[in-house]
Symmetry: C2
Subunit: 419 residues, 2 copies
């Protein structure tokens, strides 16, 4: 039977009743014959509670000590989950990150996994015992506790699955899988049976916050089949794998959007080497993350330079750029905090022209003006006024027929386009 | 400057404000030139909260997993305390029991310390850094987390002080020291400047719940000067050391009492070898702890056998003994749950007769009947009806002049007796 790594997030283990439900699911899978390794997060709310305690004592608490503090959240859950499994007559054994051991670098709060020692987990499995491992945490080479940063439990699960060469890594969460877009906005949104790592990466980074992006990268790198599914509802979820050549990929798999965008334009910047660095250097020094960057062809030695960023950072970035405006030689700095980003994602785009055209036509028909465009191999993103968000996403979902399941996965694409 | 181990209990670190107060005290001691190692307990209430979670999932949760669960309580406090100390400009570094490492046997829930590795703590001290160590926990030889049982943080502090050859181990708590008796009962009760390990052991086991008894034993064994003092009020507390031959010990140092006693008498038991074992065997098999045991001289081949125990265990012990009565050959079994124990403790008793006499006279004058008597070298205990508890303790406190400080510690005892 296959070895499966199952990861249960914070809402899945939020209280004793939910931990019992998780234990029921784990025991059912075990009785179905699977070998299992379980990874759990802290009970939901616990990490924030602990963060609050630390911040209460120091505005900038030591990162080393914050990791010691936060790691207790998952340690509580591994013990409780192991207790609940054992109560159901199946052997279980909890492991902290240090006990496994999950070796990381020493970057407290955002550590990266460097190696996983499988020996303890293999021994537990050999003893017919289900290892219950604390997600999100590890230990560095001097024995200090580290954490992987928010959502790091997904990364732990994928890394364990890769190290143990598991057949599948199942991420249990409070959604039923990956959808063509947010079902709260488009009720017709459809759960995807499968999606590629690349598409998932684009969807995750664009705001479909189902899986931590590092976990998807990790799964792609080590080719670990990843499945997202619901703790609370039965269902097959969404399987994330490499593109299956036997199955034609749909042109557009999903529509992501991000409400928290802002755009800043510098007008009349001199068209000289180093201009972009002059503009973005002071912004990134202030730890502000820039997203899209658009620069048009210069006219008369001058050009307009636009970038997008998180709305919360807009005011600070504007101040910084005003202070540097004379040095940069910009005519003026214009900010707009009332914009959003909509992105089409799909590996099928690679081999299809016309996706951008259909996207622009659809938006035009709705009377939605496009402020910025950026493209990658499997993604097209546009920035539009925030008032157009819902209408835009709905129209695109309809135009690319995402509400309808692909008729048959092996049909040639022309056939599917007509469906 | 001397190395001092300071231990702060659960009420001393109950919330962020109290942890800040502890950090202030620690930093003041550091600035006064002392080298320090800090030991902390879980925030008060936390251990019970965690116990509740575990018991909620299984009536008899795995002891290994309960230790994983409970150990998070102290881990939270070491991180918070280290953060608060660092915020005051002094370097600190938290250590779990496993990180130190405090090696214990594998008896989960009541592990015993076998060895302490000083290397990490010495390195931290050499780096001008205050180690903040999790009390109550250790790690066994296979890397499993263990706990020392309730109150185990005191033991951790004393064990660290012994290993590091500290000048003093200071136990900070919510009382100002060891008193001649409970000040809530006798307002004239006086804080003792010093007391011997032996006296402290007798007082602790008799119900003056200031220090964990194992910690006192440990401190006595390794001759670690132990000081009990208040986190919340300034003061020198009570120093617990070996009897100082230069200082005459008072005859009676303190009066302990225990409200939760019950007594059981088996009447007309055959006076044969093995009778006591027949009686107490089934009781101890039920994990019931027996305290005083009194057996009078037999008359006509029969004797009465009495023992005391915790009141909560009385009904169960009665049932057990009734079931075994025929085999034991007892005439009847009589229980009394409305008794209390009062004990005089003092190393000075060793060299003084007449203490028992004065005790009995005092109680008689108050009209208090004595049900049982037991004595040791430095202790006399009597069991009386519970209604007499307060009057008895007050009269004895007065009779032995415990409210008055010894006039001068070097006076010969005859002089003090007249004081």
């Amino acid at each position: 039977m296959a070895l499966i790594v199952q990861k249960y997030g914070g809402t899945s283990v939020a209280d004793c009743a939910r931990i019992e439900h998780v234990a029921d699911k784990v025991c059912a899978a075990r009785r179905a014959g699977h070998d299992l390794v379980i990874v759990v997060s802290a009970m939901s709310g616990e990490t924030d509670r602990l963060l609050g305690l630390g911040k209460n004592l120091a505005p900038r608490p030591s990162l080393r000590e914050m990791d010691v503090l936060l790691a207790t959240g998952e340690q509580v859950t591994i013990a409780l989950t192991a207790i609940a499994i054992e109560q159901r007559g199946i052997k279980a054994r909890s492991f902290t990150g240090a006990q496994v051991k999950i070796l990381t670098d020493g970057a407290h709060g955002k550590a990266r996994i460097e190696a996983i020692d499988e020996e303890q987990l293999r021994a537990a499995l050999a003893a017919n015992c289900i290892p219950v491992v604390a997600g999100f945490q590890g230990v560095d080479d001097v024995g200090d506790i580290t954490t992987l940063g928010r959502g790091g439990s997904d990364t732990t699960a994928v890394a364990l699955a890769a190290a143990l060469k598991a057949g599948e890594c199942q991420i249990y969460t409070d959604v039923e899988g990956v959808y063509t877009t947010d079902p709260r906005m488009v009720p017709e949104a459809r759960r995807l049976e499968r999606i590629t790592f690349e598409e998932m990466l684009e969807l995750a980074s664009l705001g479909s916050k189902v899986l931590q992006i590092r976990a998807v990268e990790f799964a792609g790198k080590y080719n670990v089949p990843l499945r997202v599914l619901s703790t609370f509802k039965e269902g097959a979820g969404t399987l994330i794998t490499y593109e299956d050549t036997a199955v034609e990929a749909p042109i557009v798999s999903g529509i992501a959007f991000n409400r928290d965008e802002a755009e800043i334009t510098l007008l009349g910047v001199p068209d000289e080497p180093g201009t972009a660095a002059h503009i973005l250097g002071p912004v990134s020094e202030a730890n502000i993350v820039v997203d899209m960057i658009v620069q048009n062809v210069a006219r008369g030695g001058r050009l307009d330079f636009t970038f997008t960023l998180h709305r919360n950072d807009c005011a600070q970035a504007m101040e910084i750029l005003e202070a540097h405006r004379a040095r940069i030689g910009a005519g003026s700095v214009v900010g707009n905090e009332r914009v959003v980003k909509i992105s089409l994602v799909g590996v099928g785009m690679r081999s299809h022209s016309g996706v951008a055209t259909r996207m622009f036509q659809t938006l035009a028909r709705e009377g939605i003006g496009i402020r910025l465009v950026a493209t990658s191999e499997i993604k097209i993103s546009v920035v539009v006024d925030e008032k157009h968000l819902e209408a835009g996403v709905r129209a695109l979902h309809e135009a690319f027929k995402l509400h309808a399941a692909p008729q048959q996965d092996c049909l040639p694409q022309t056939a599917r386009k007509q469906a």
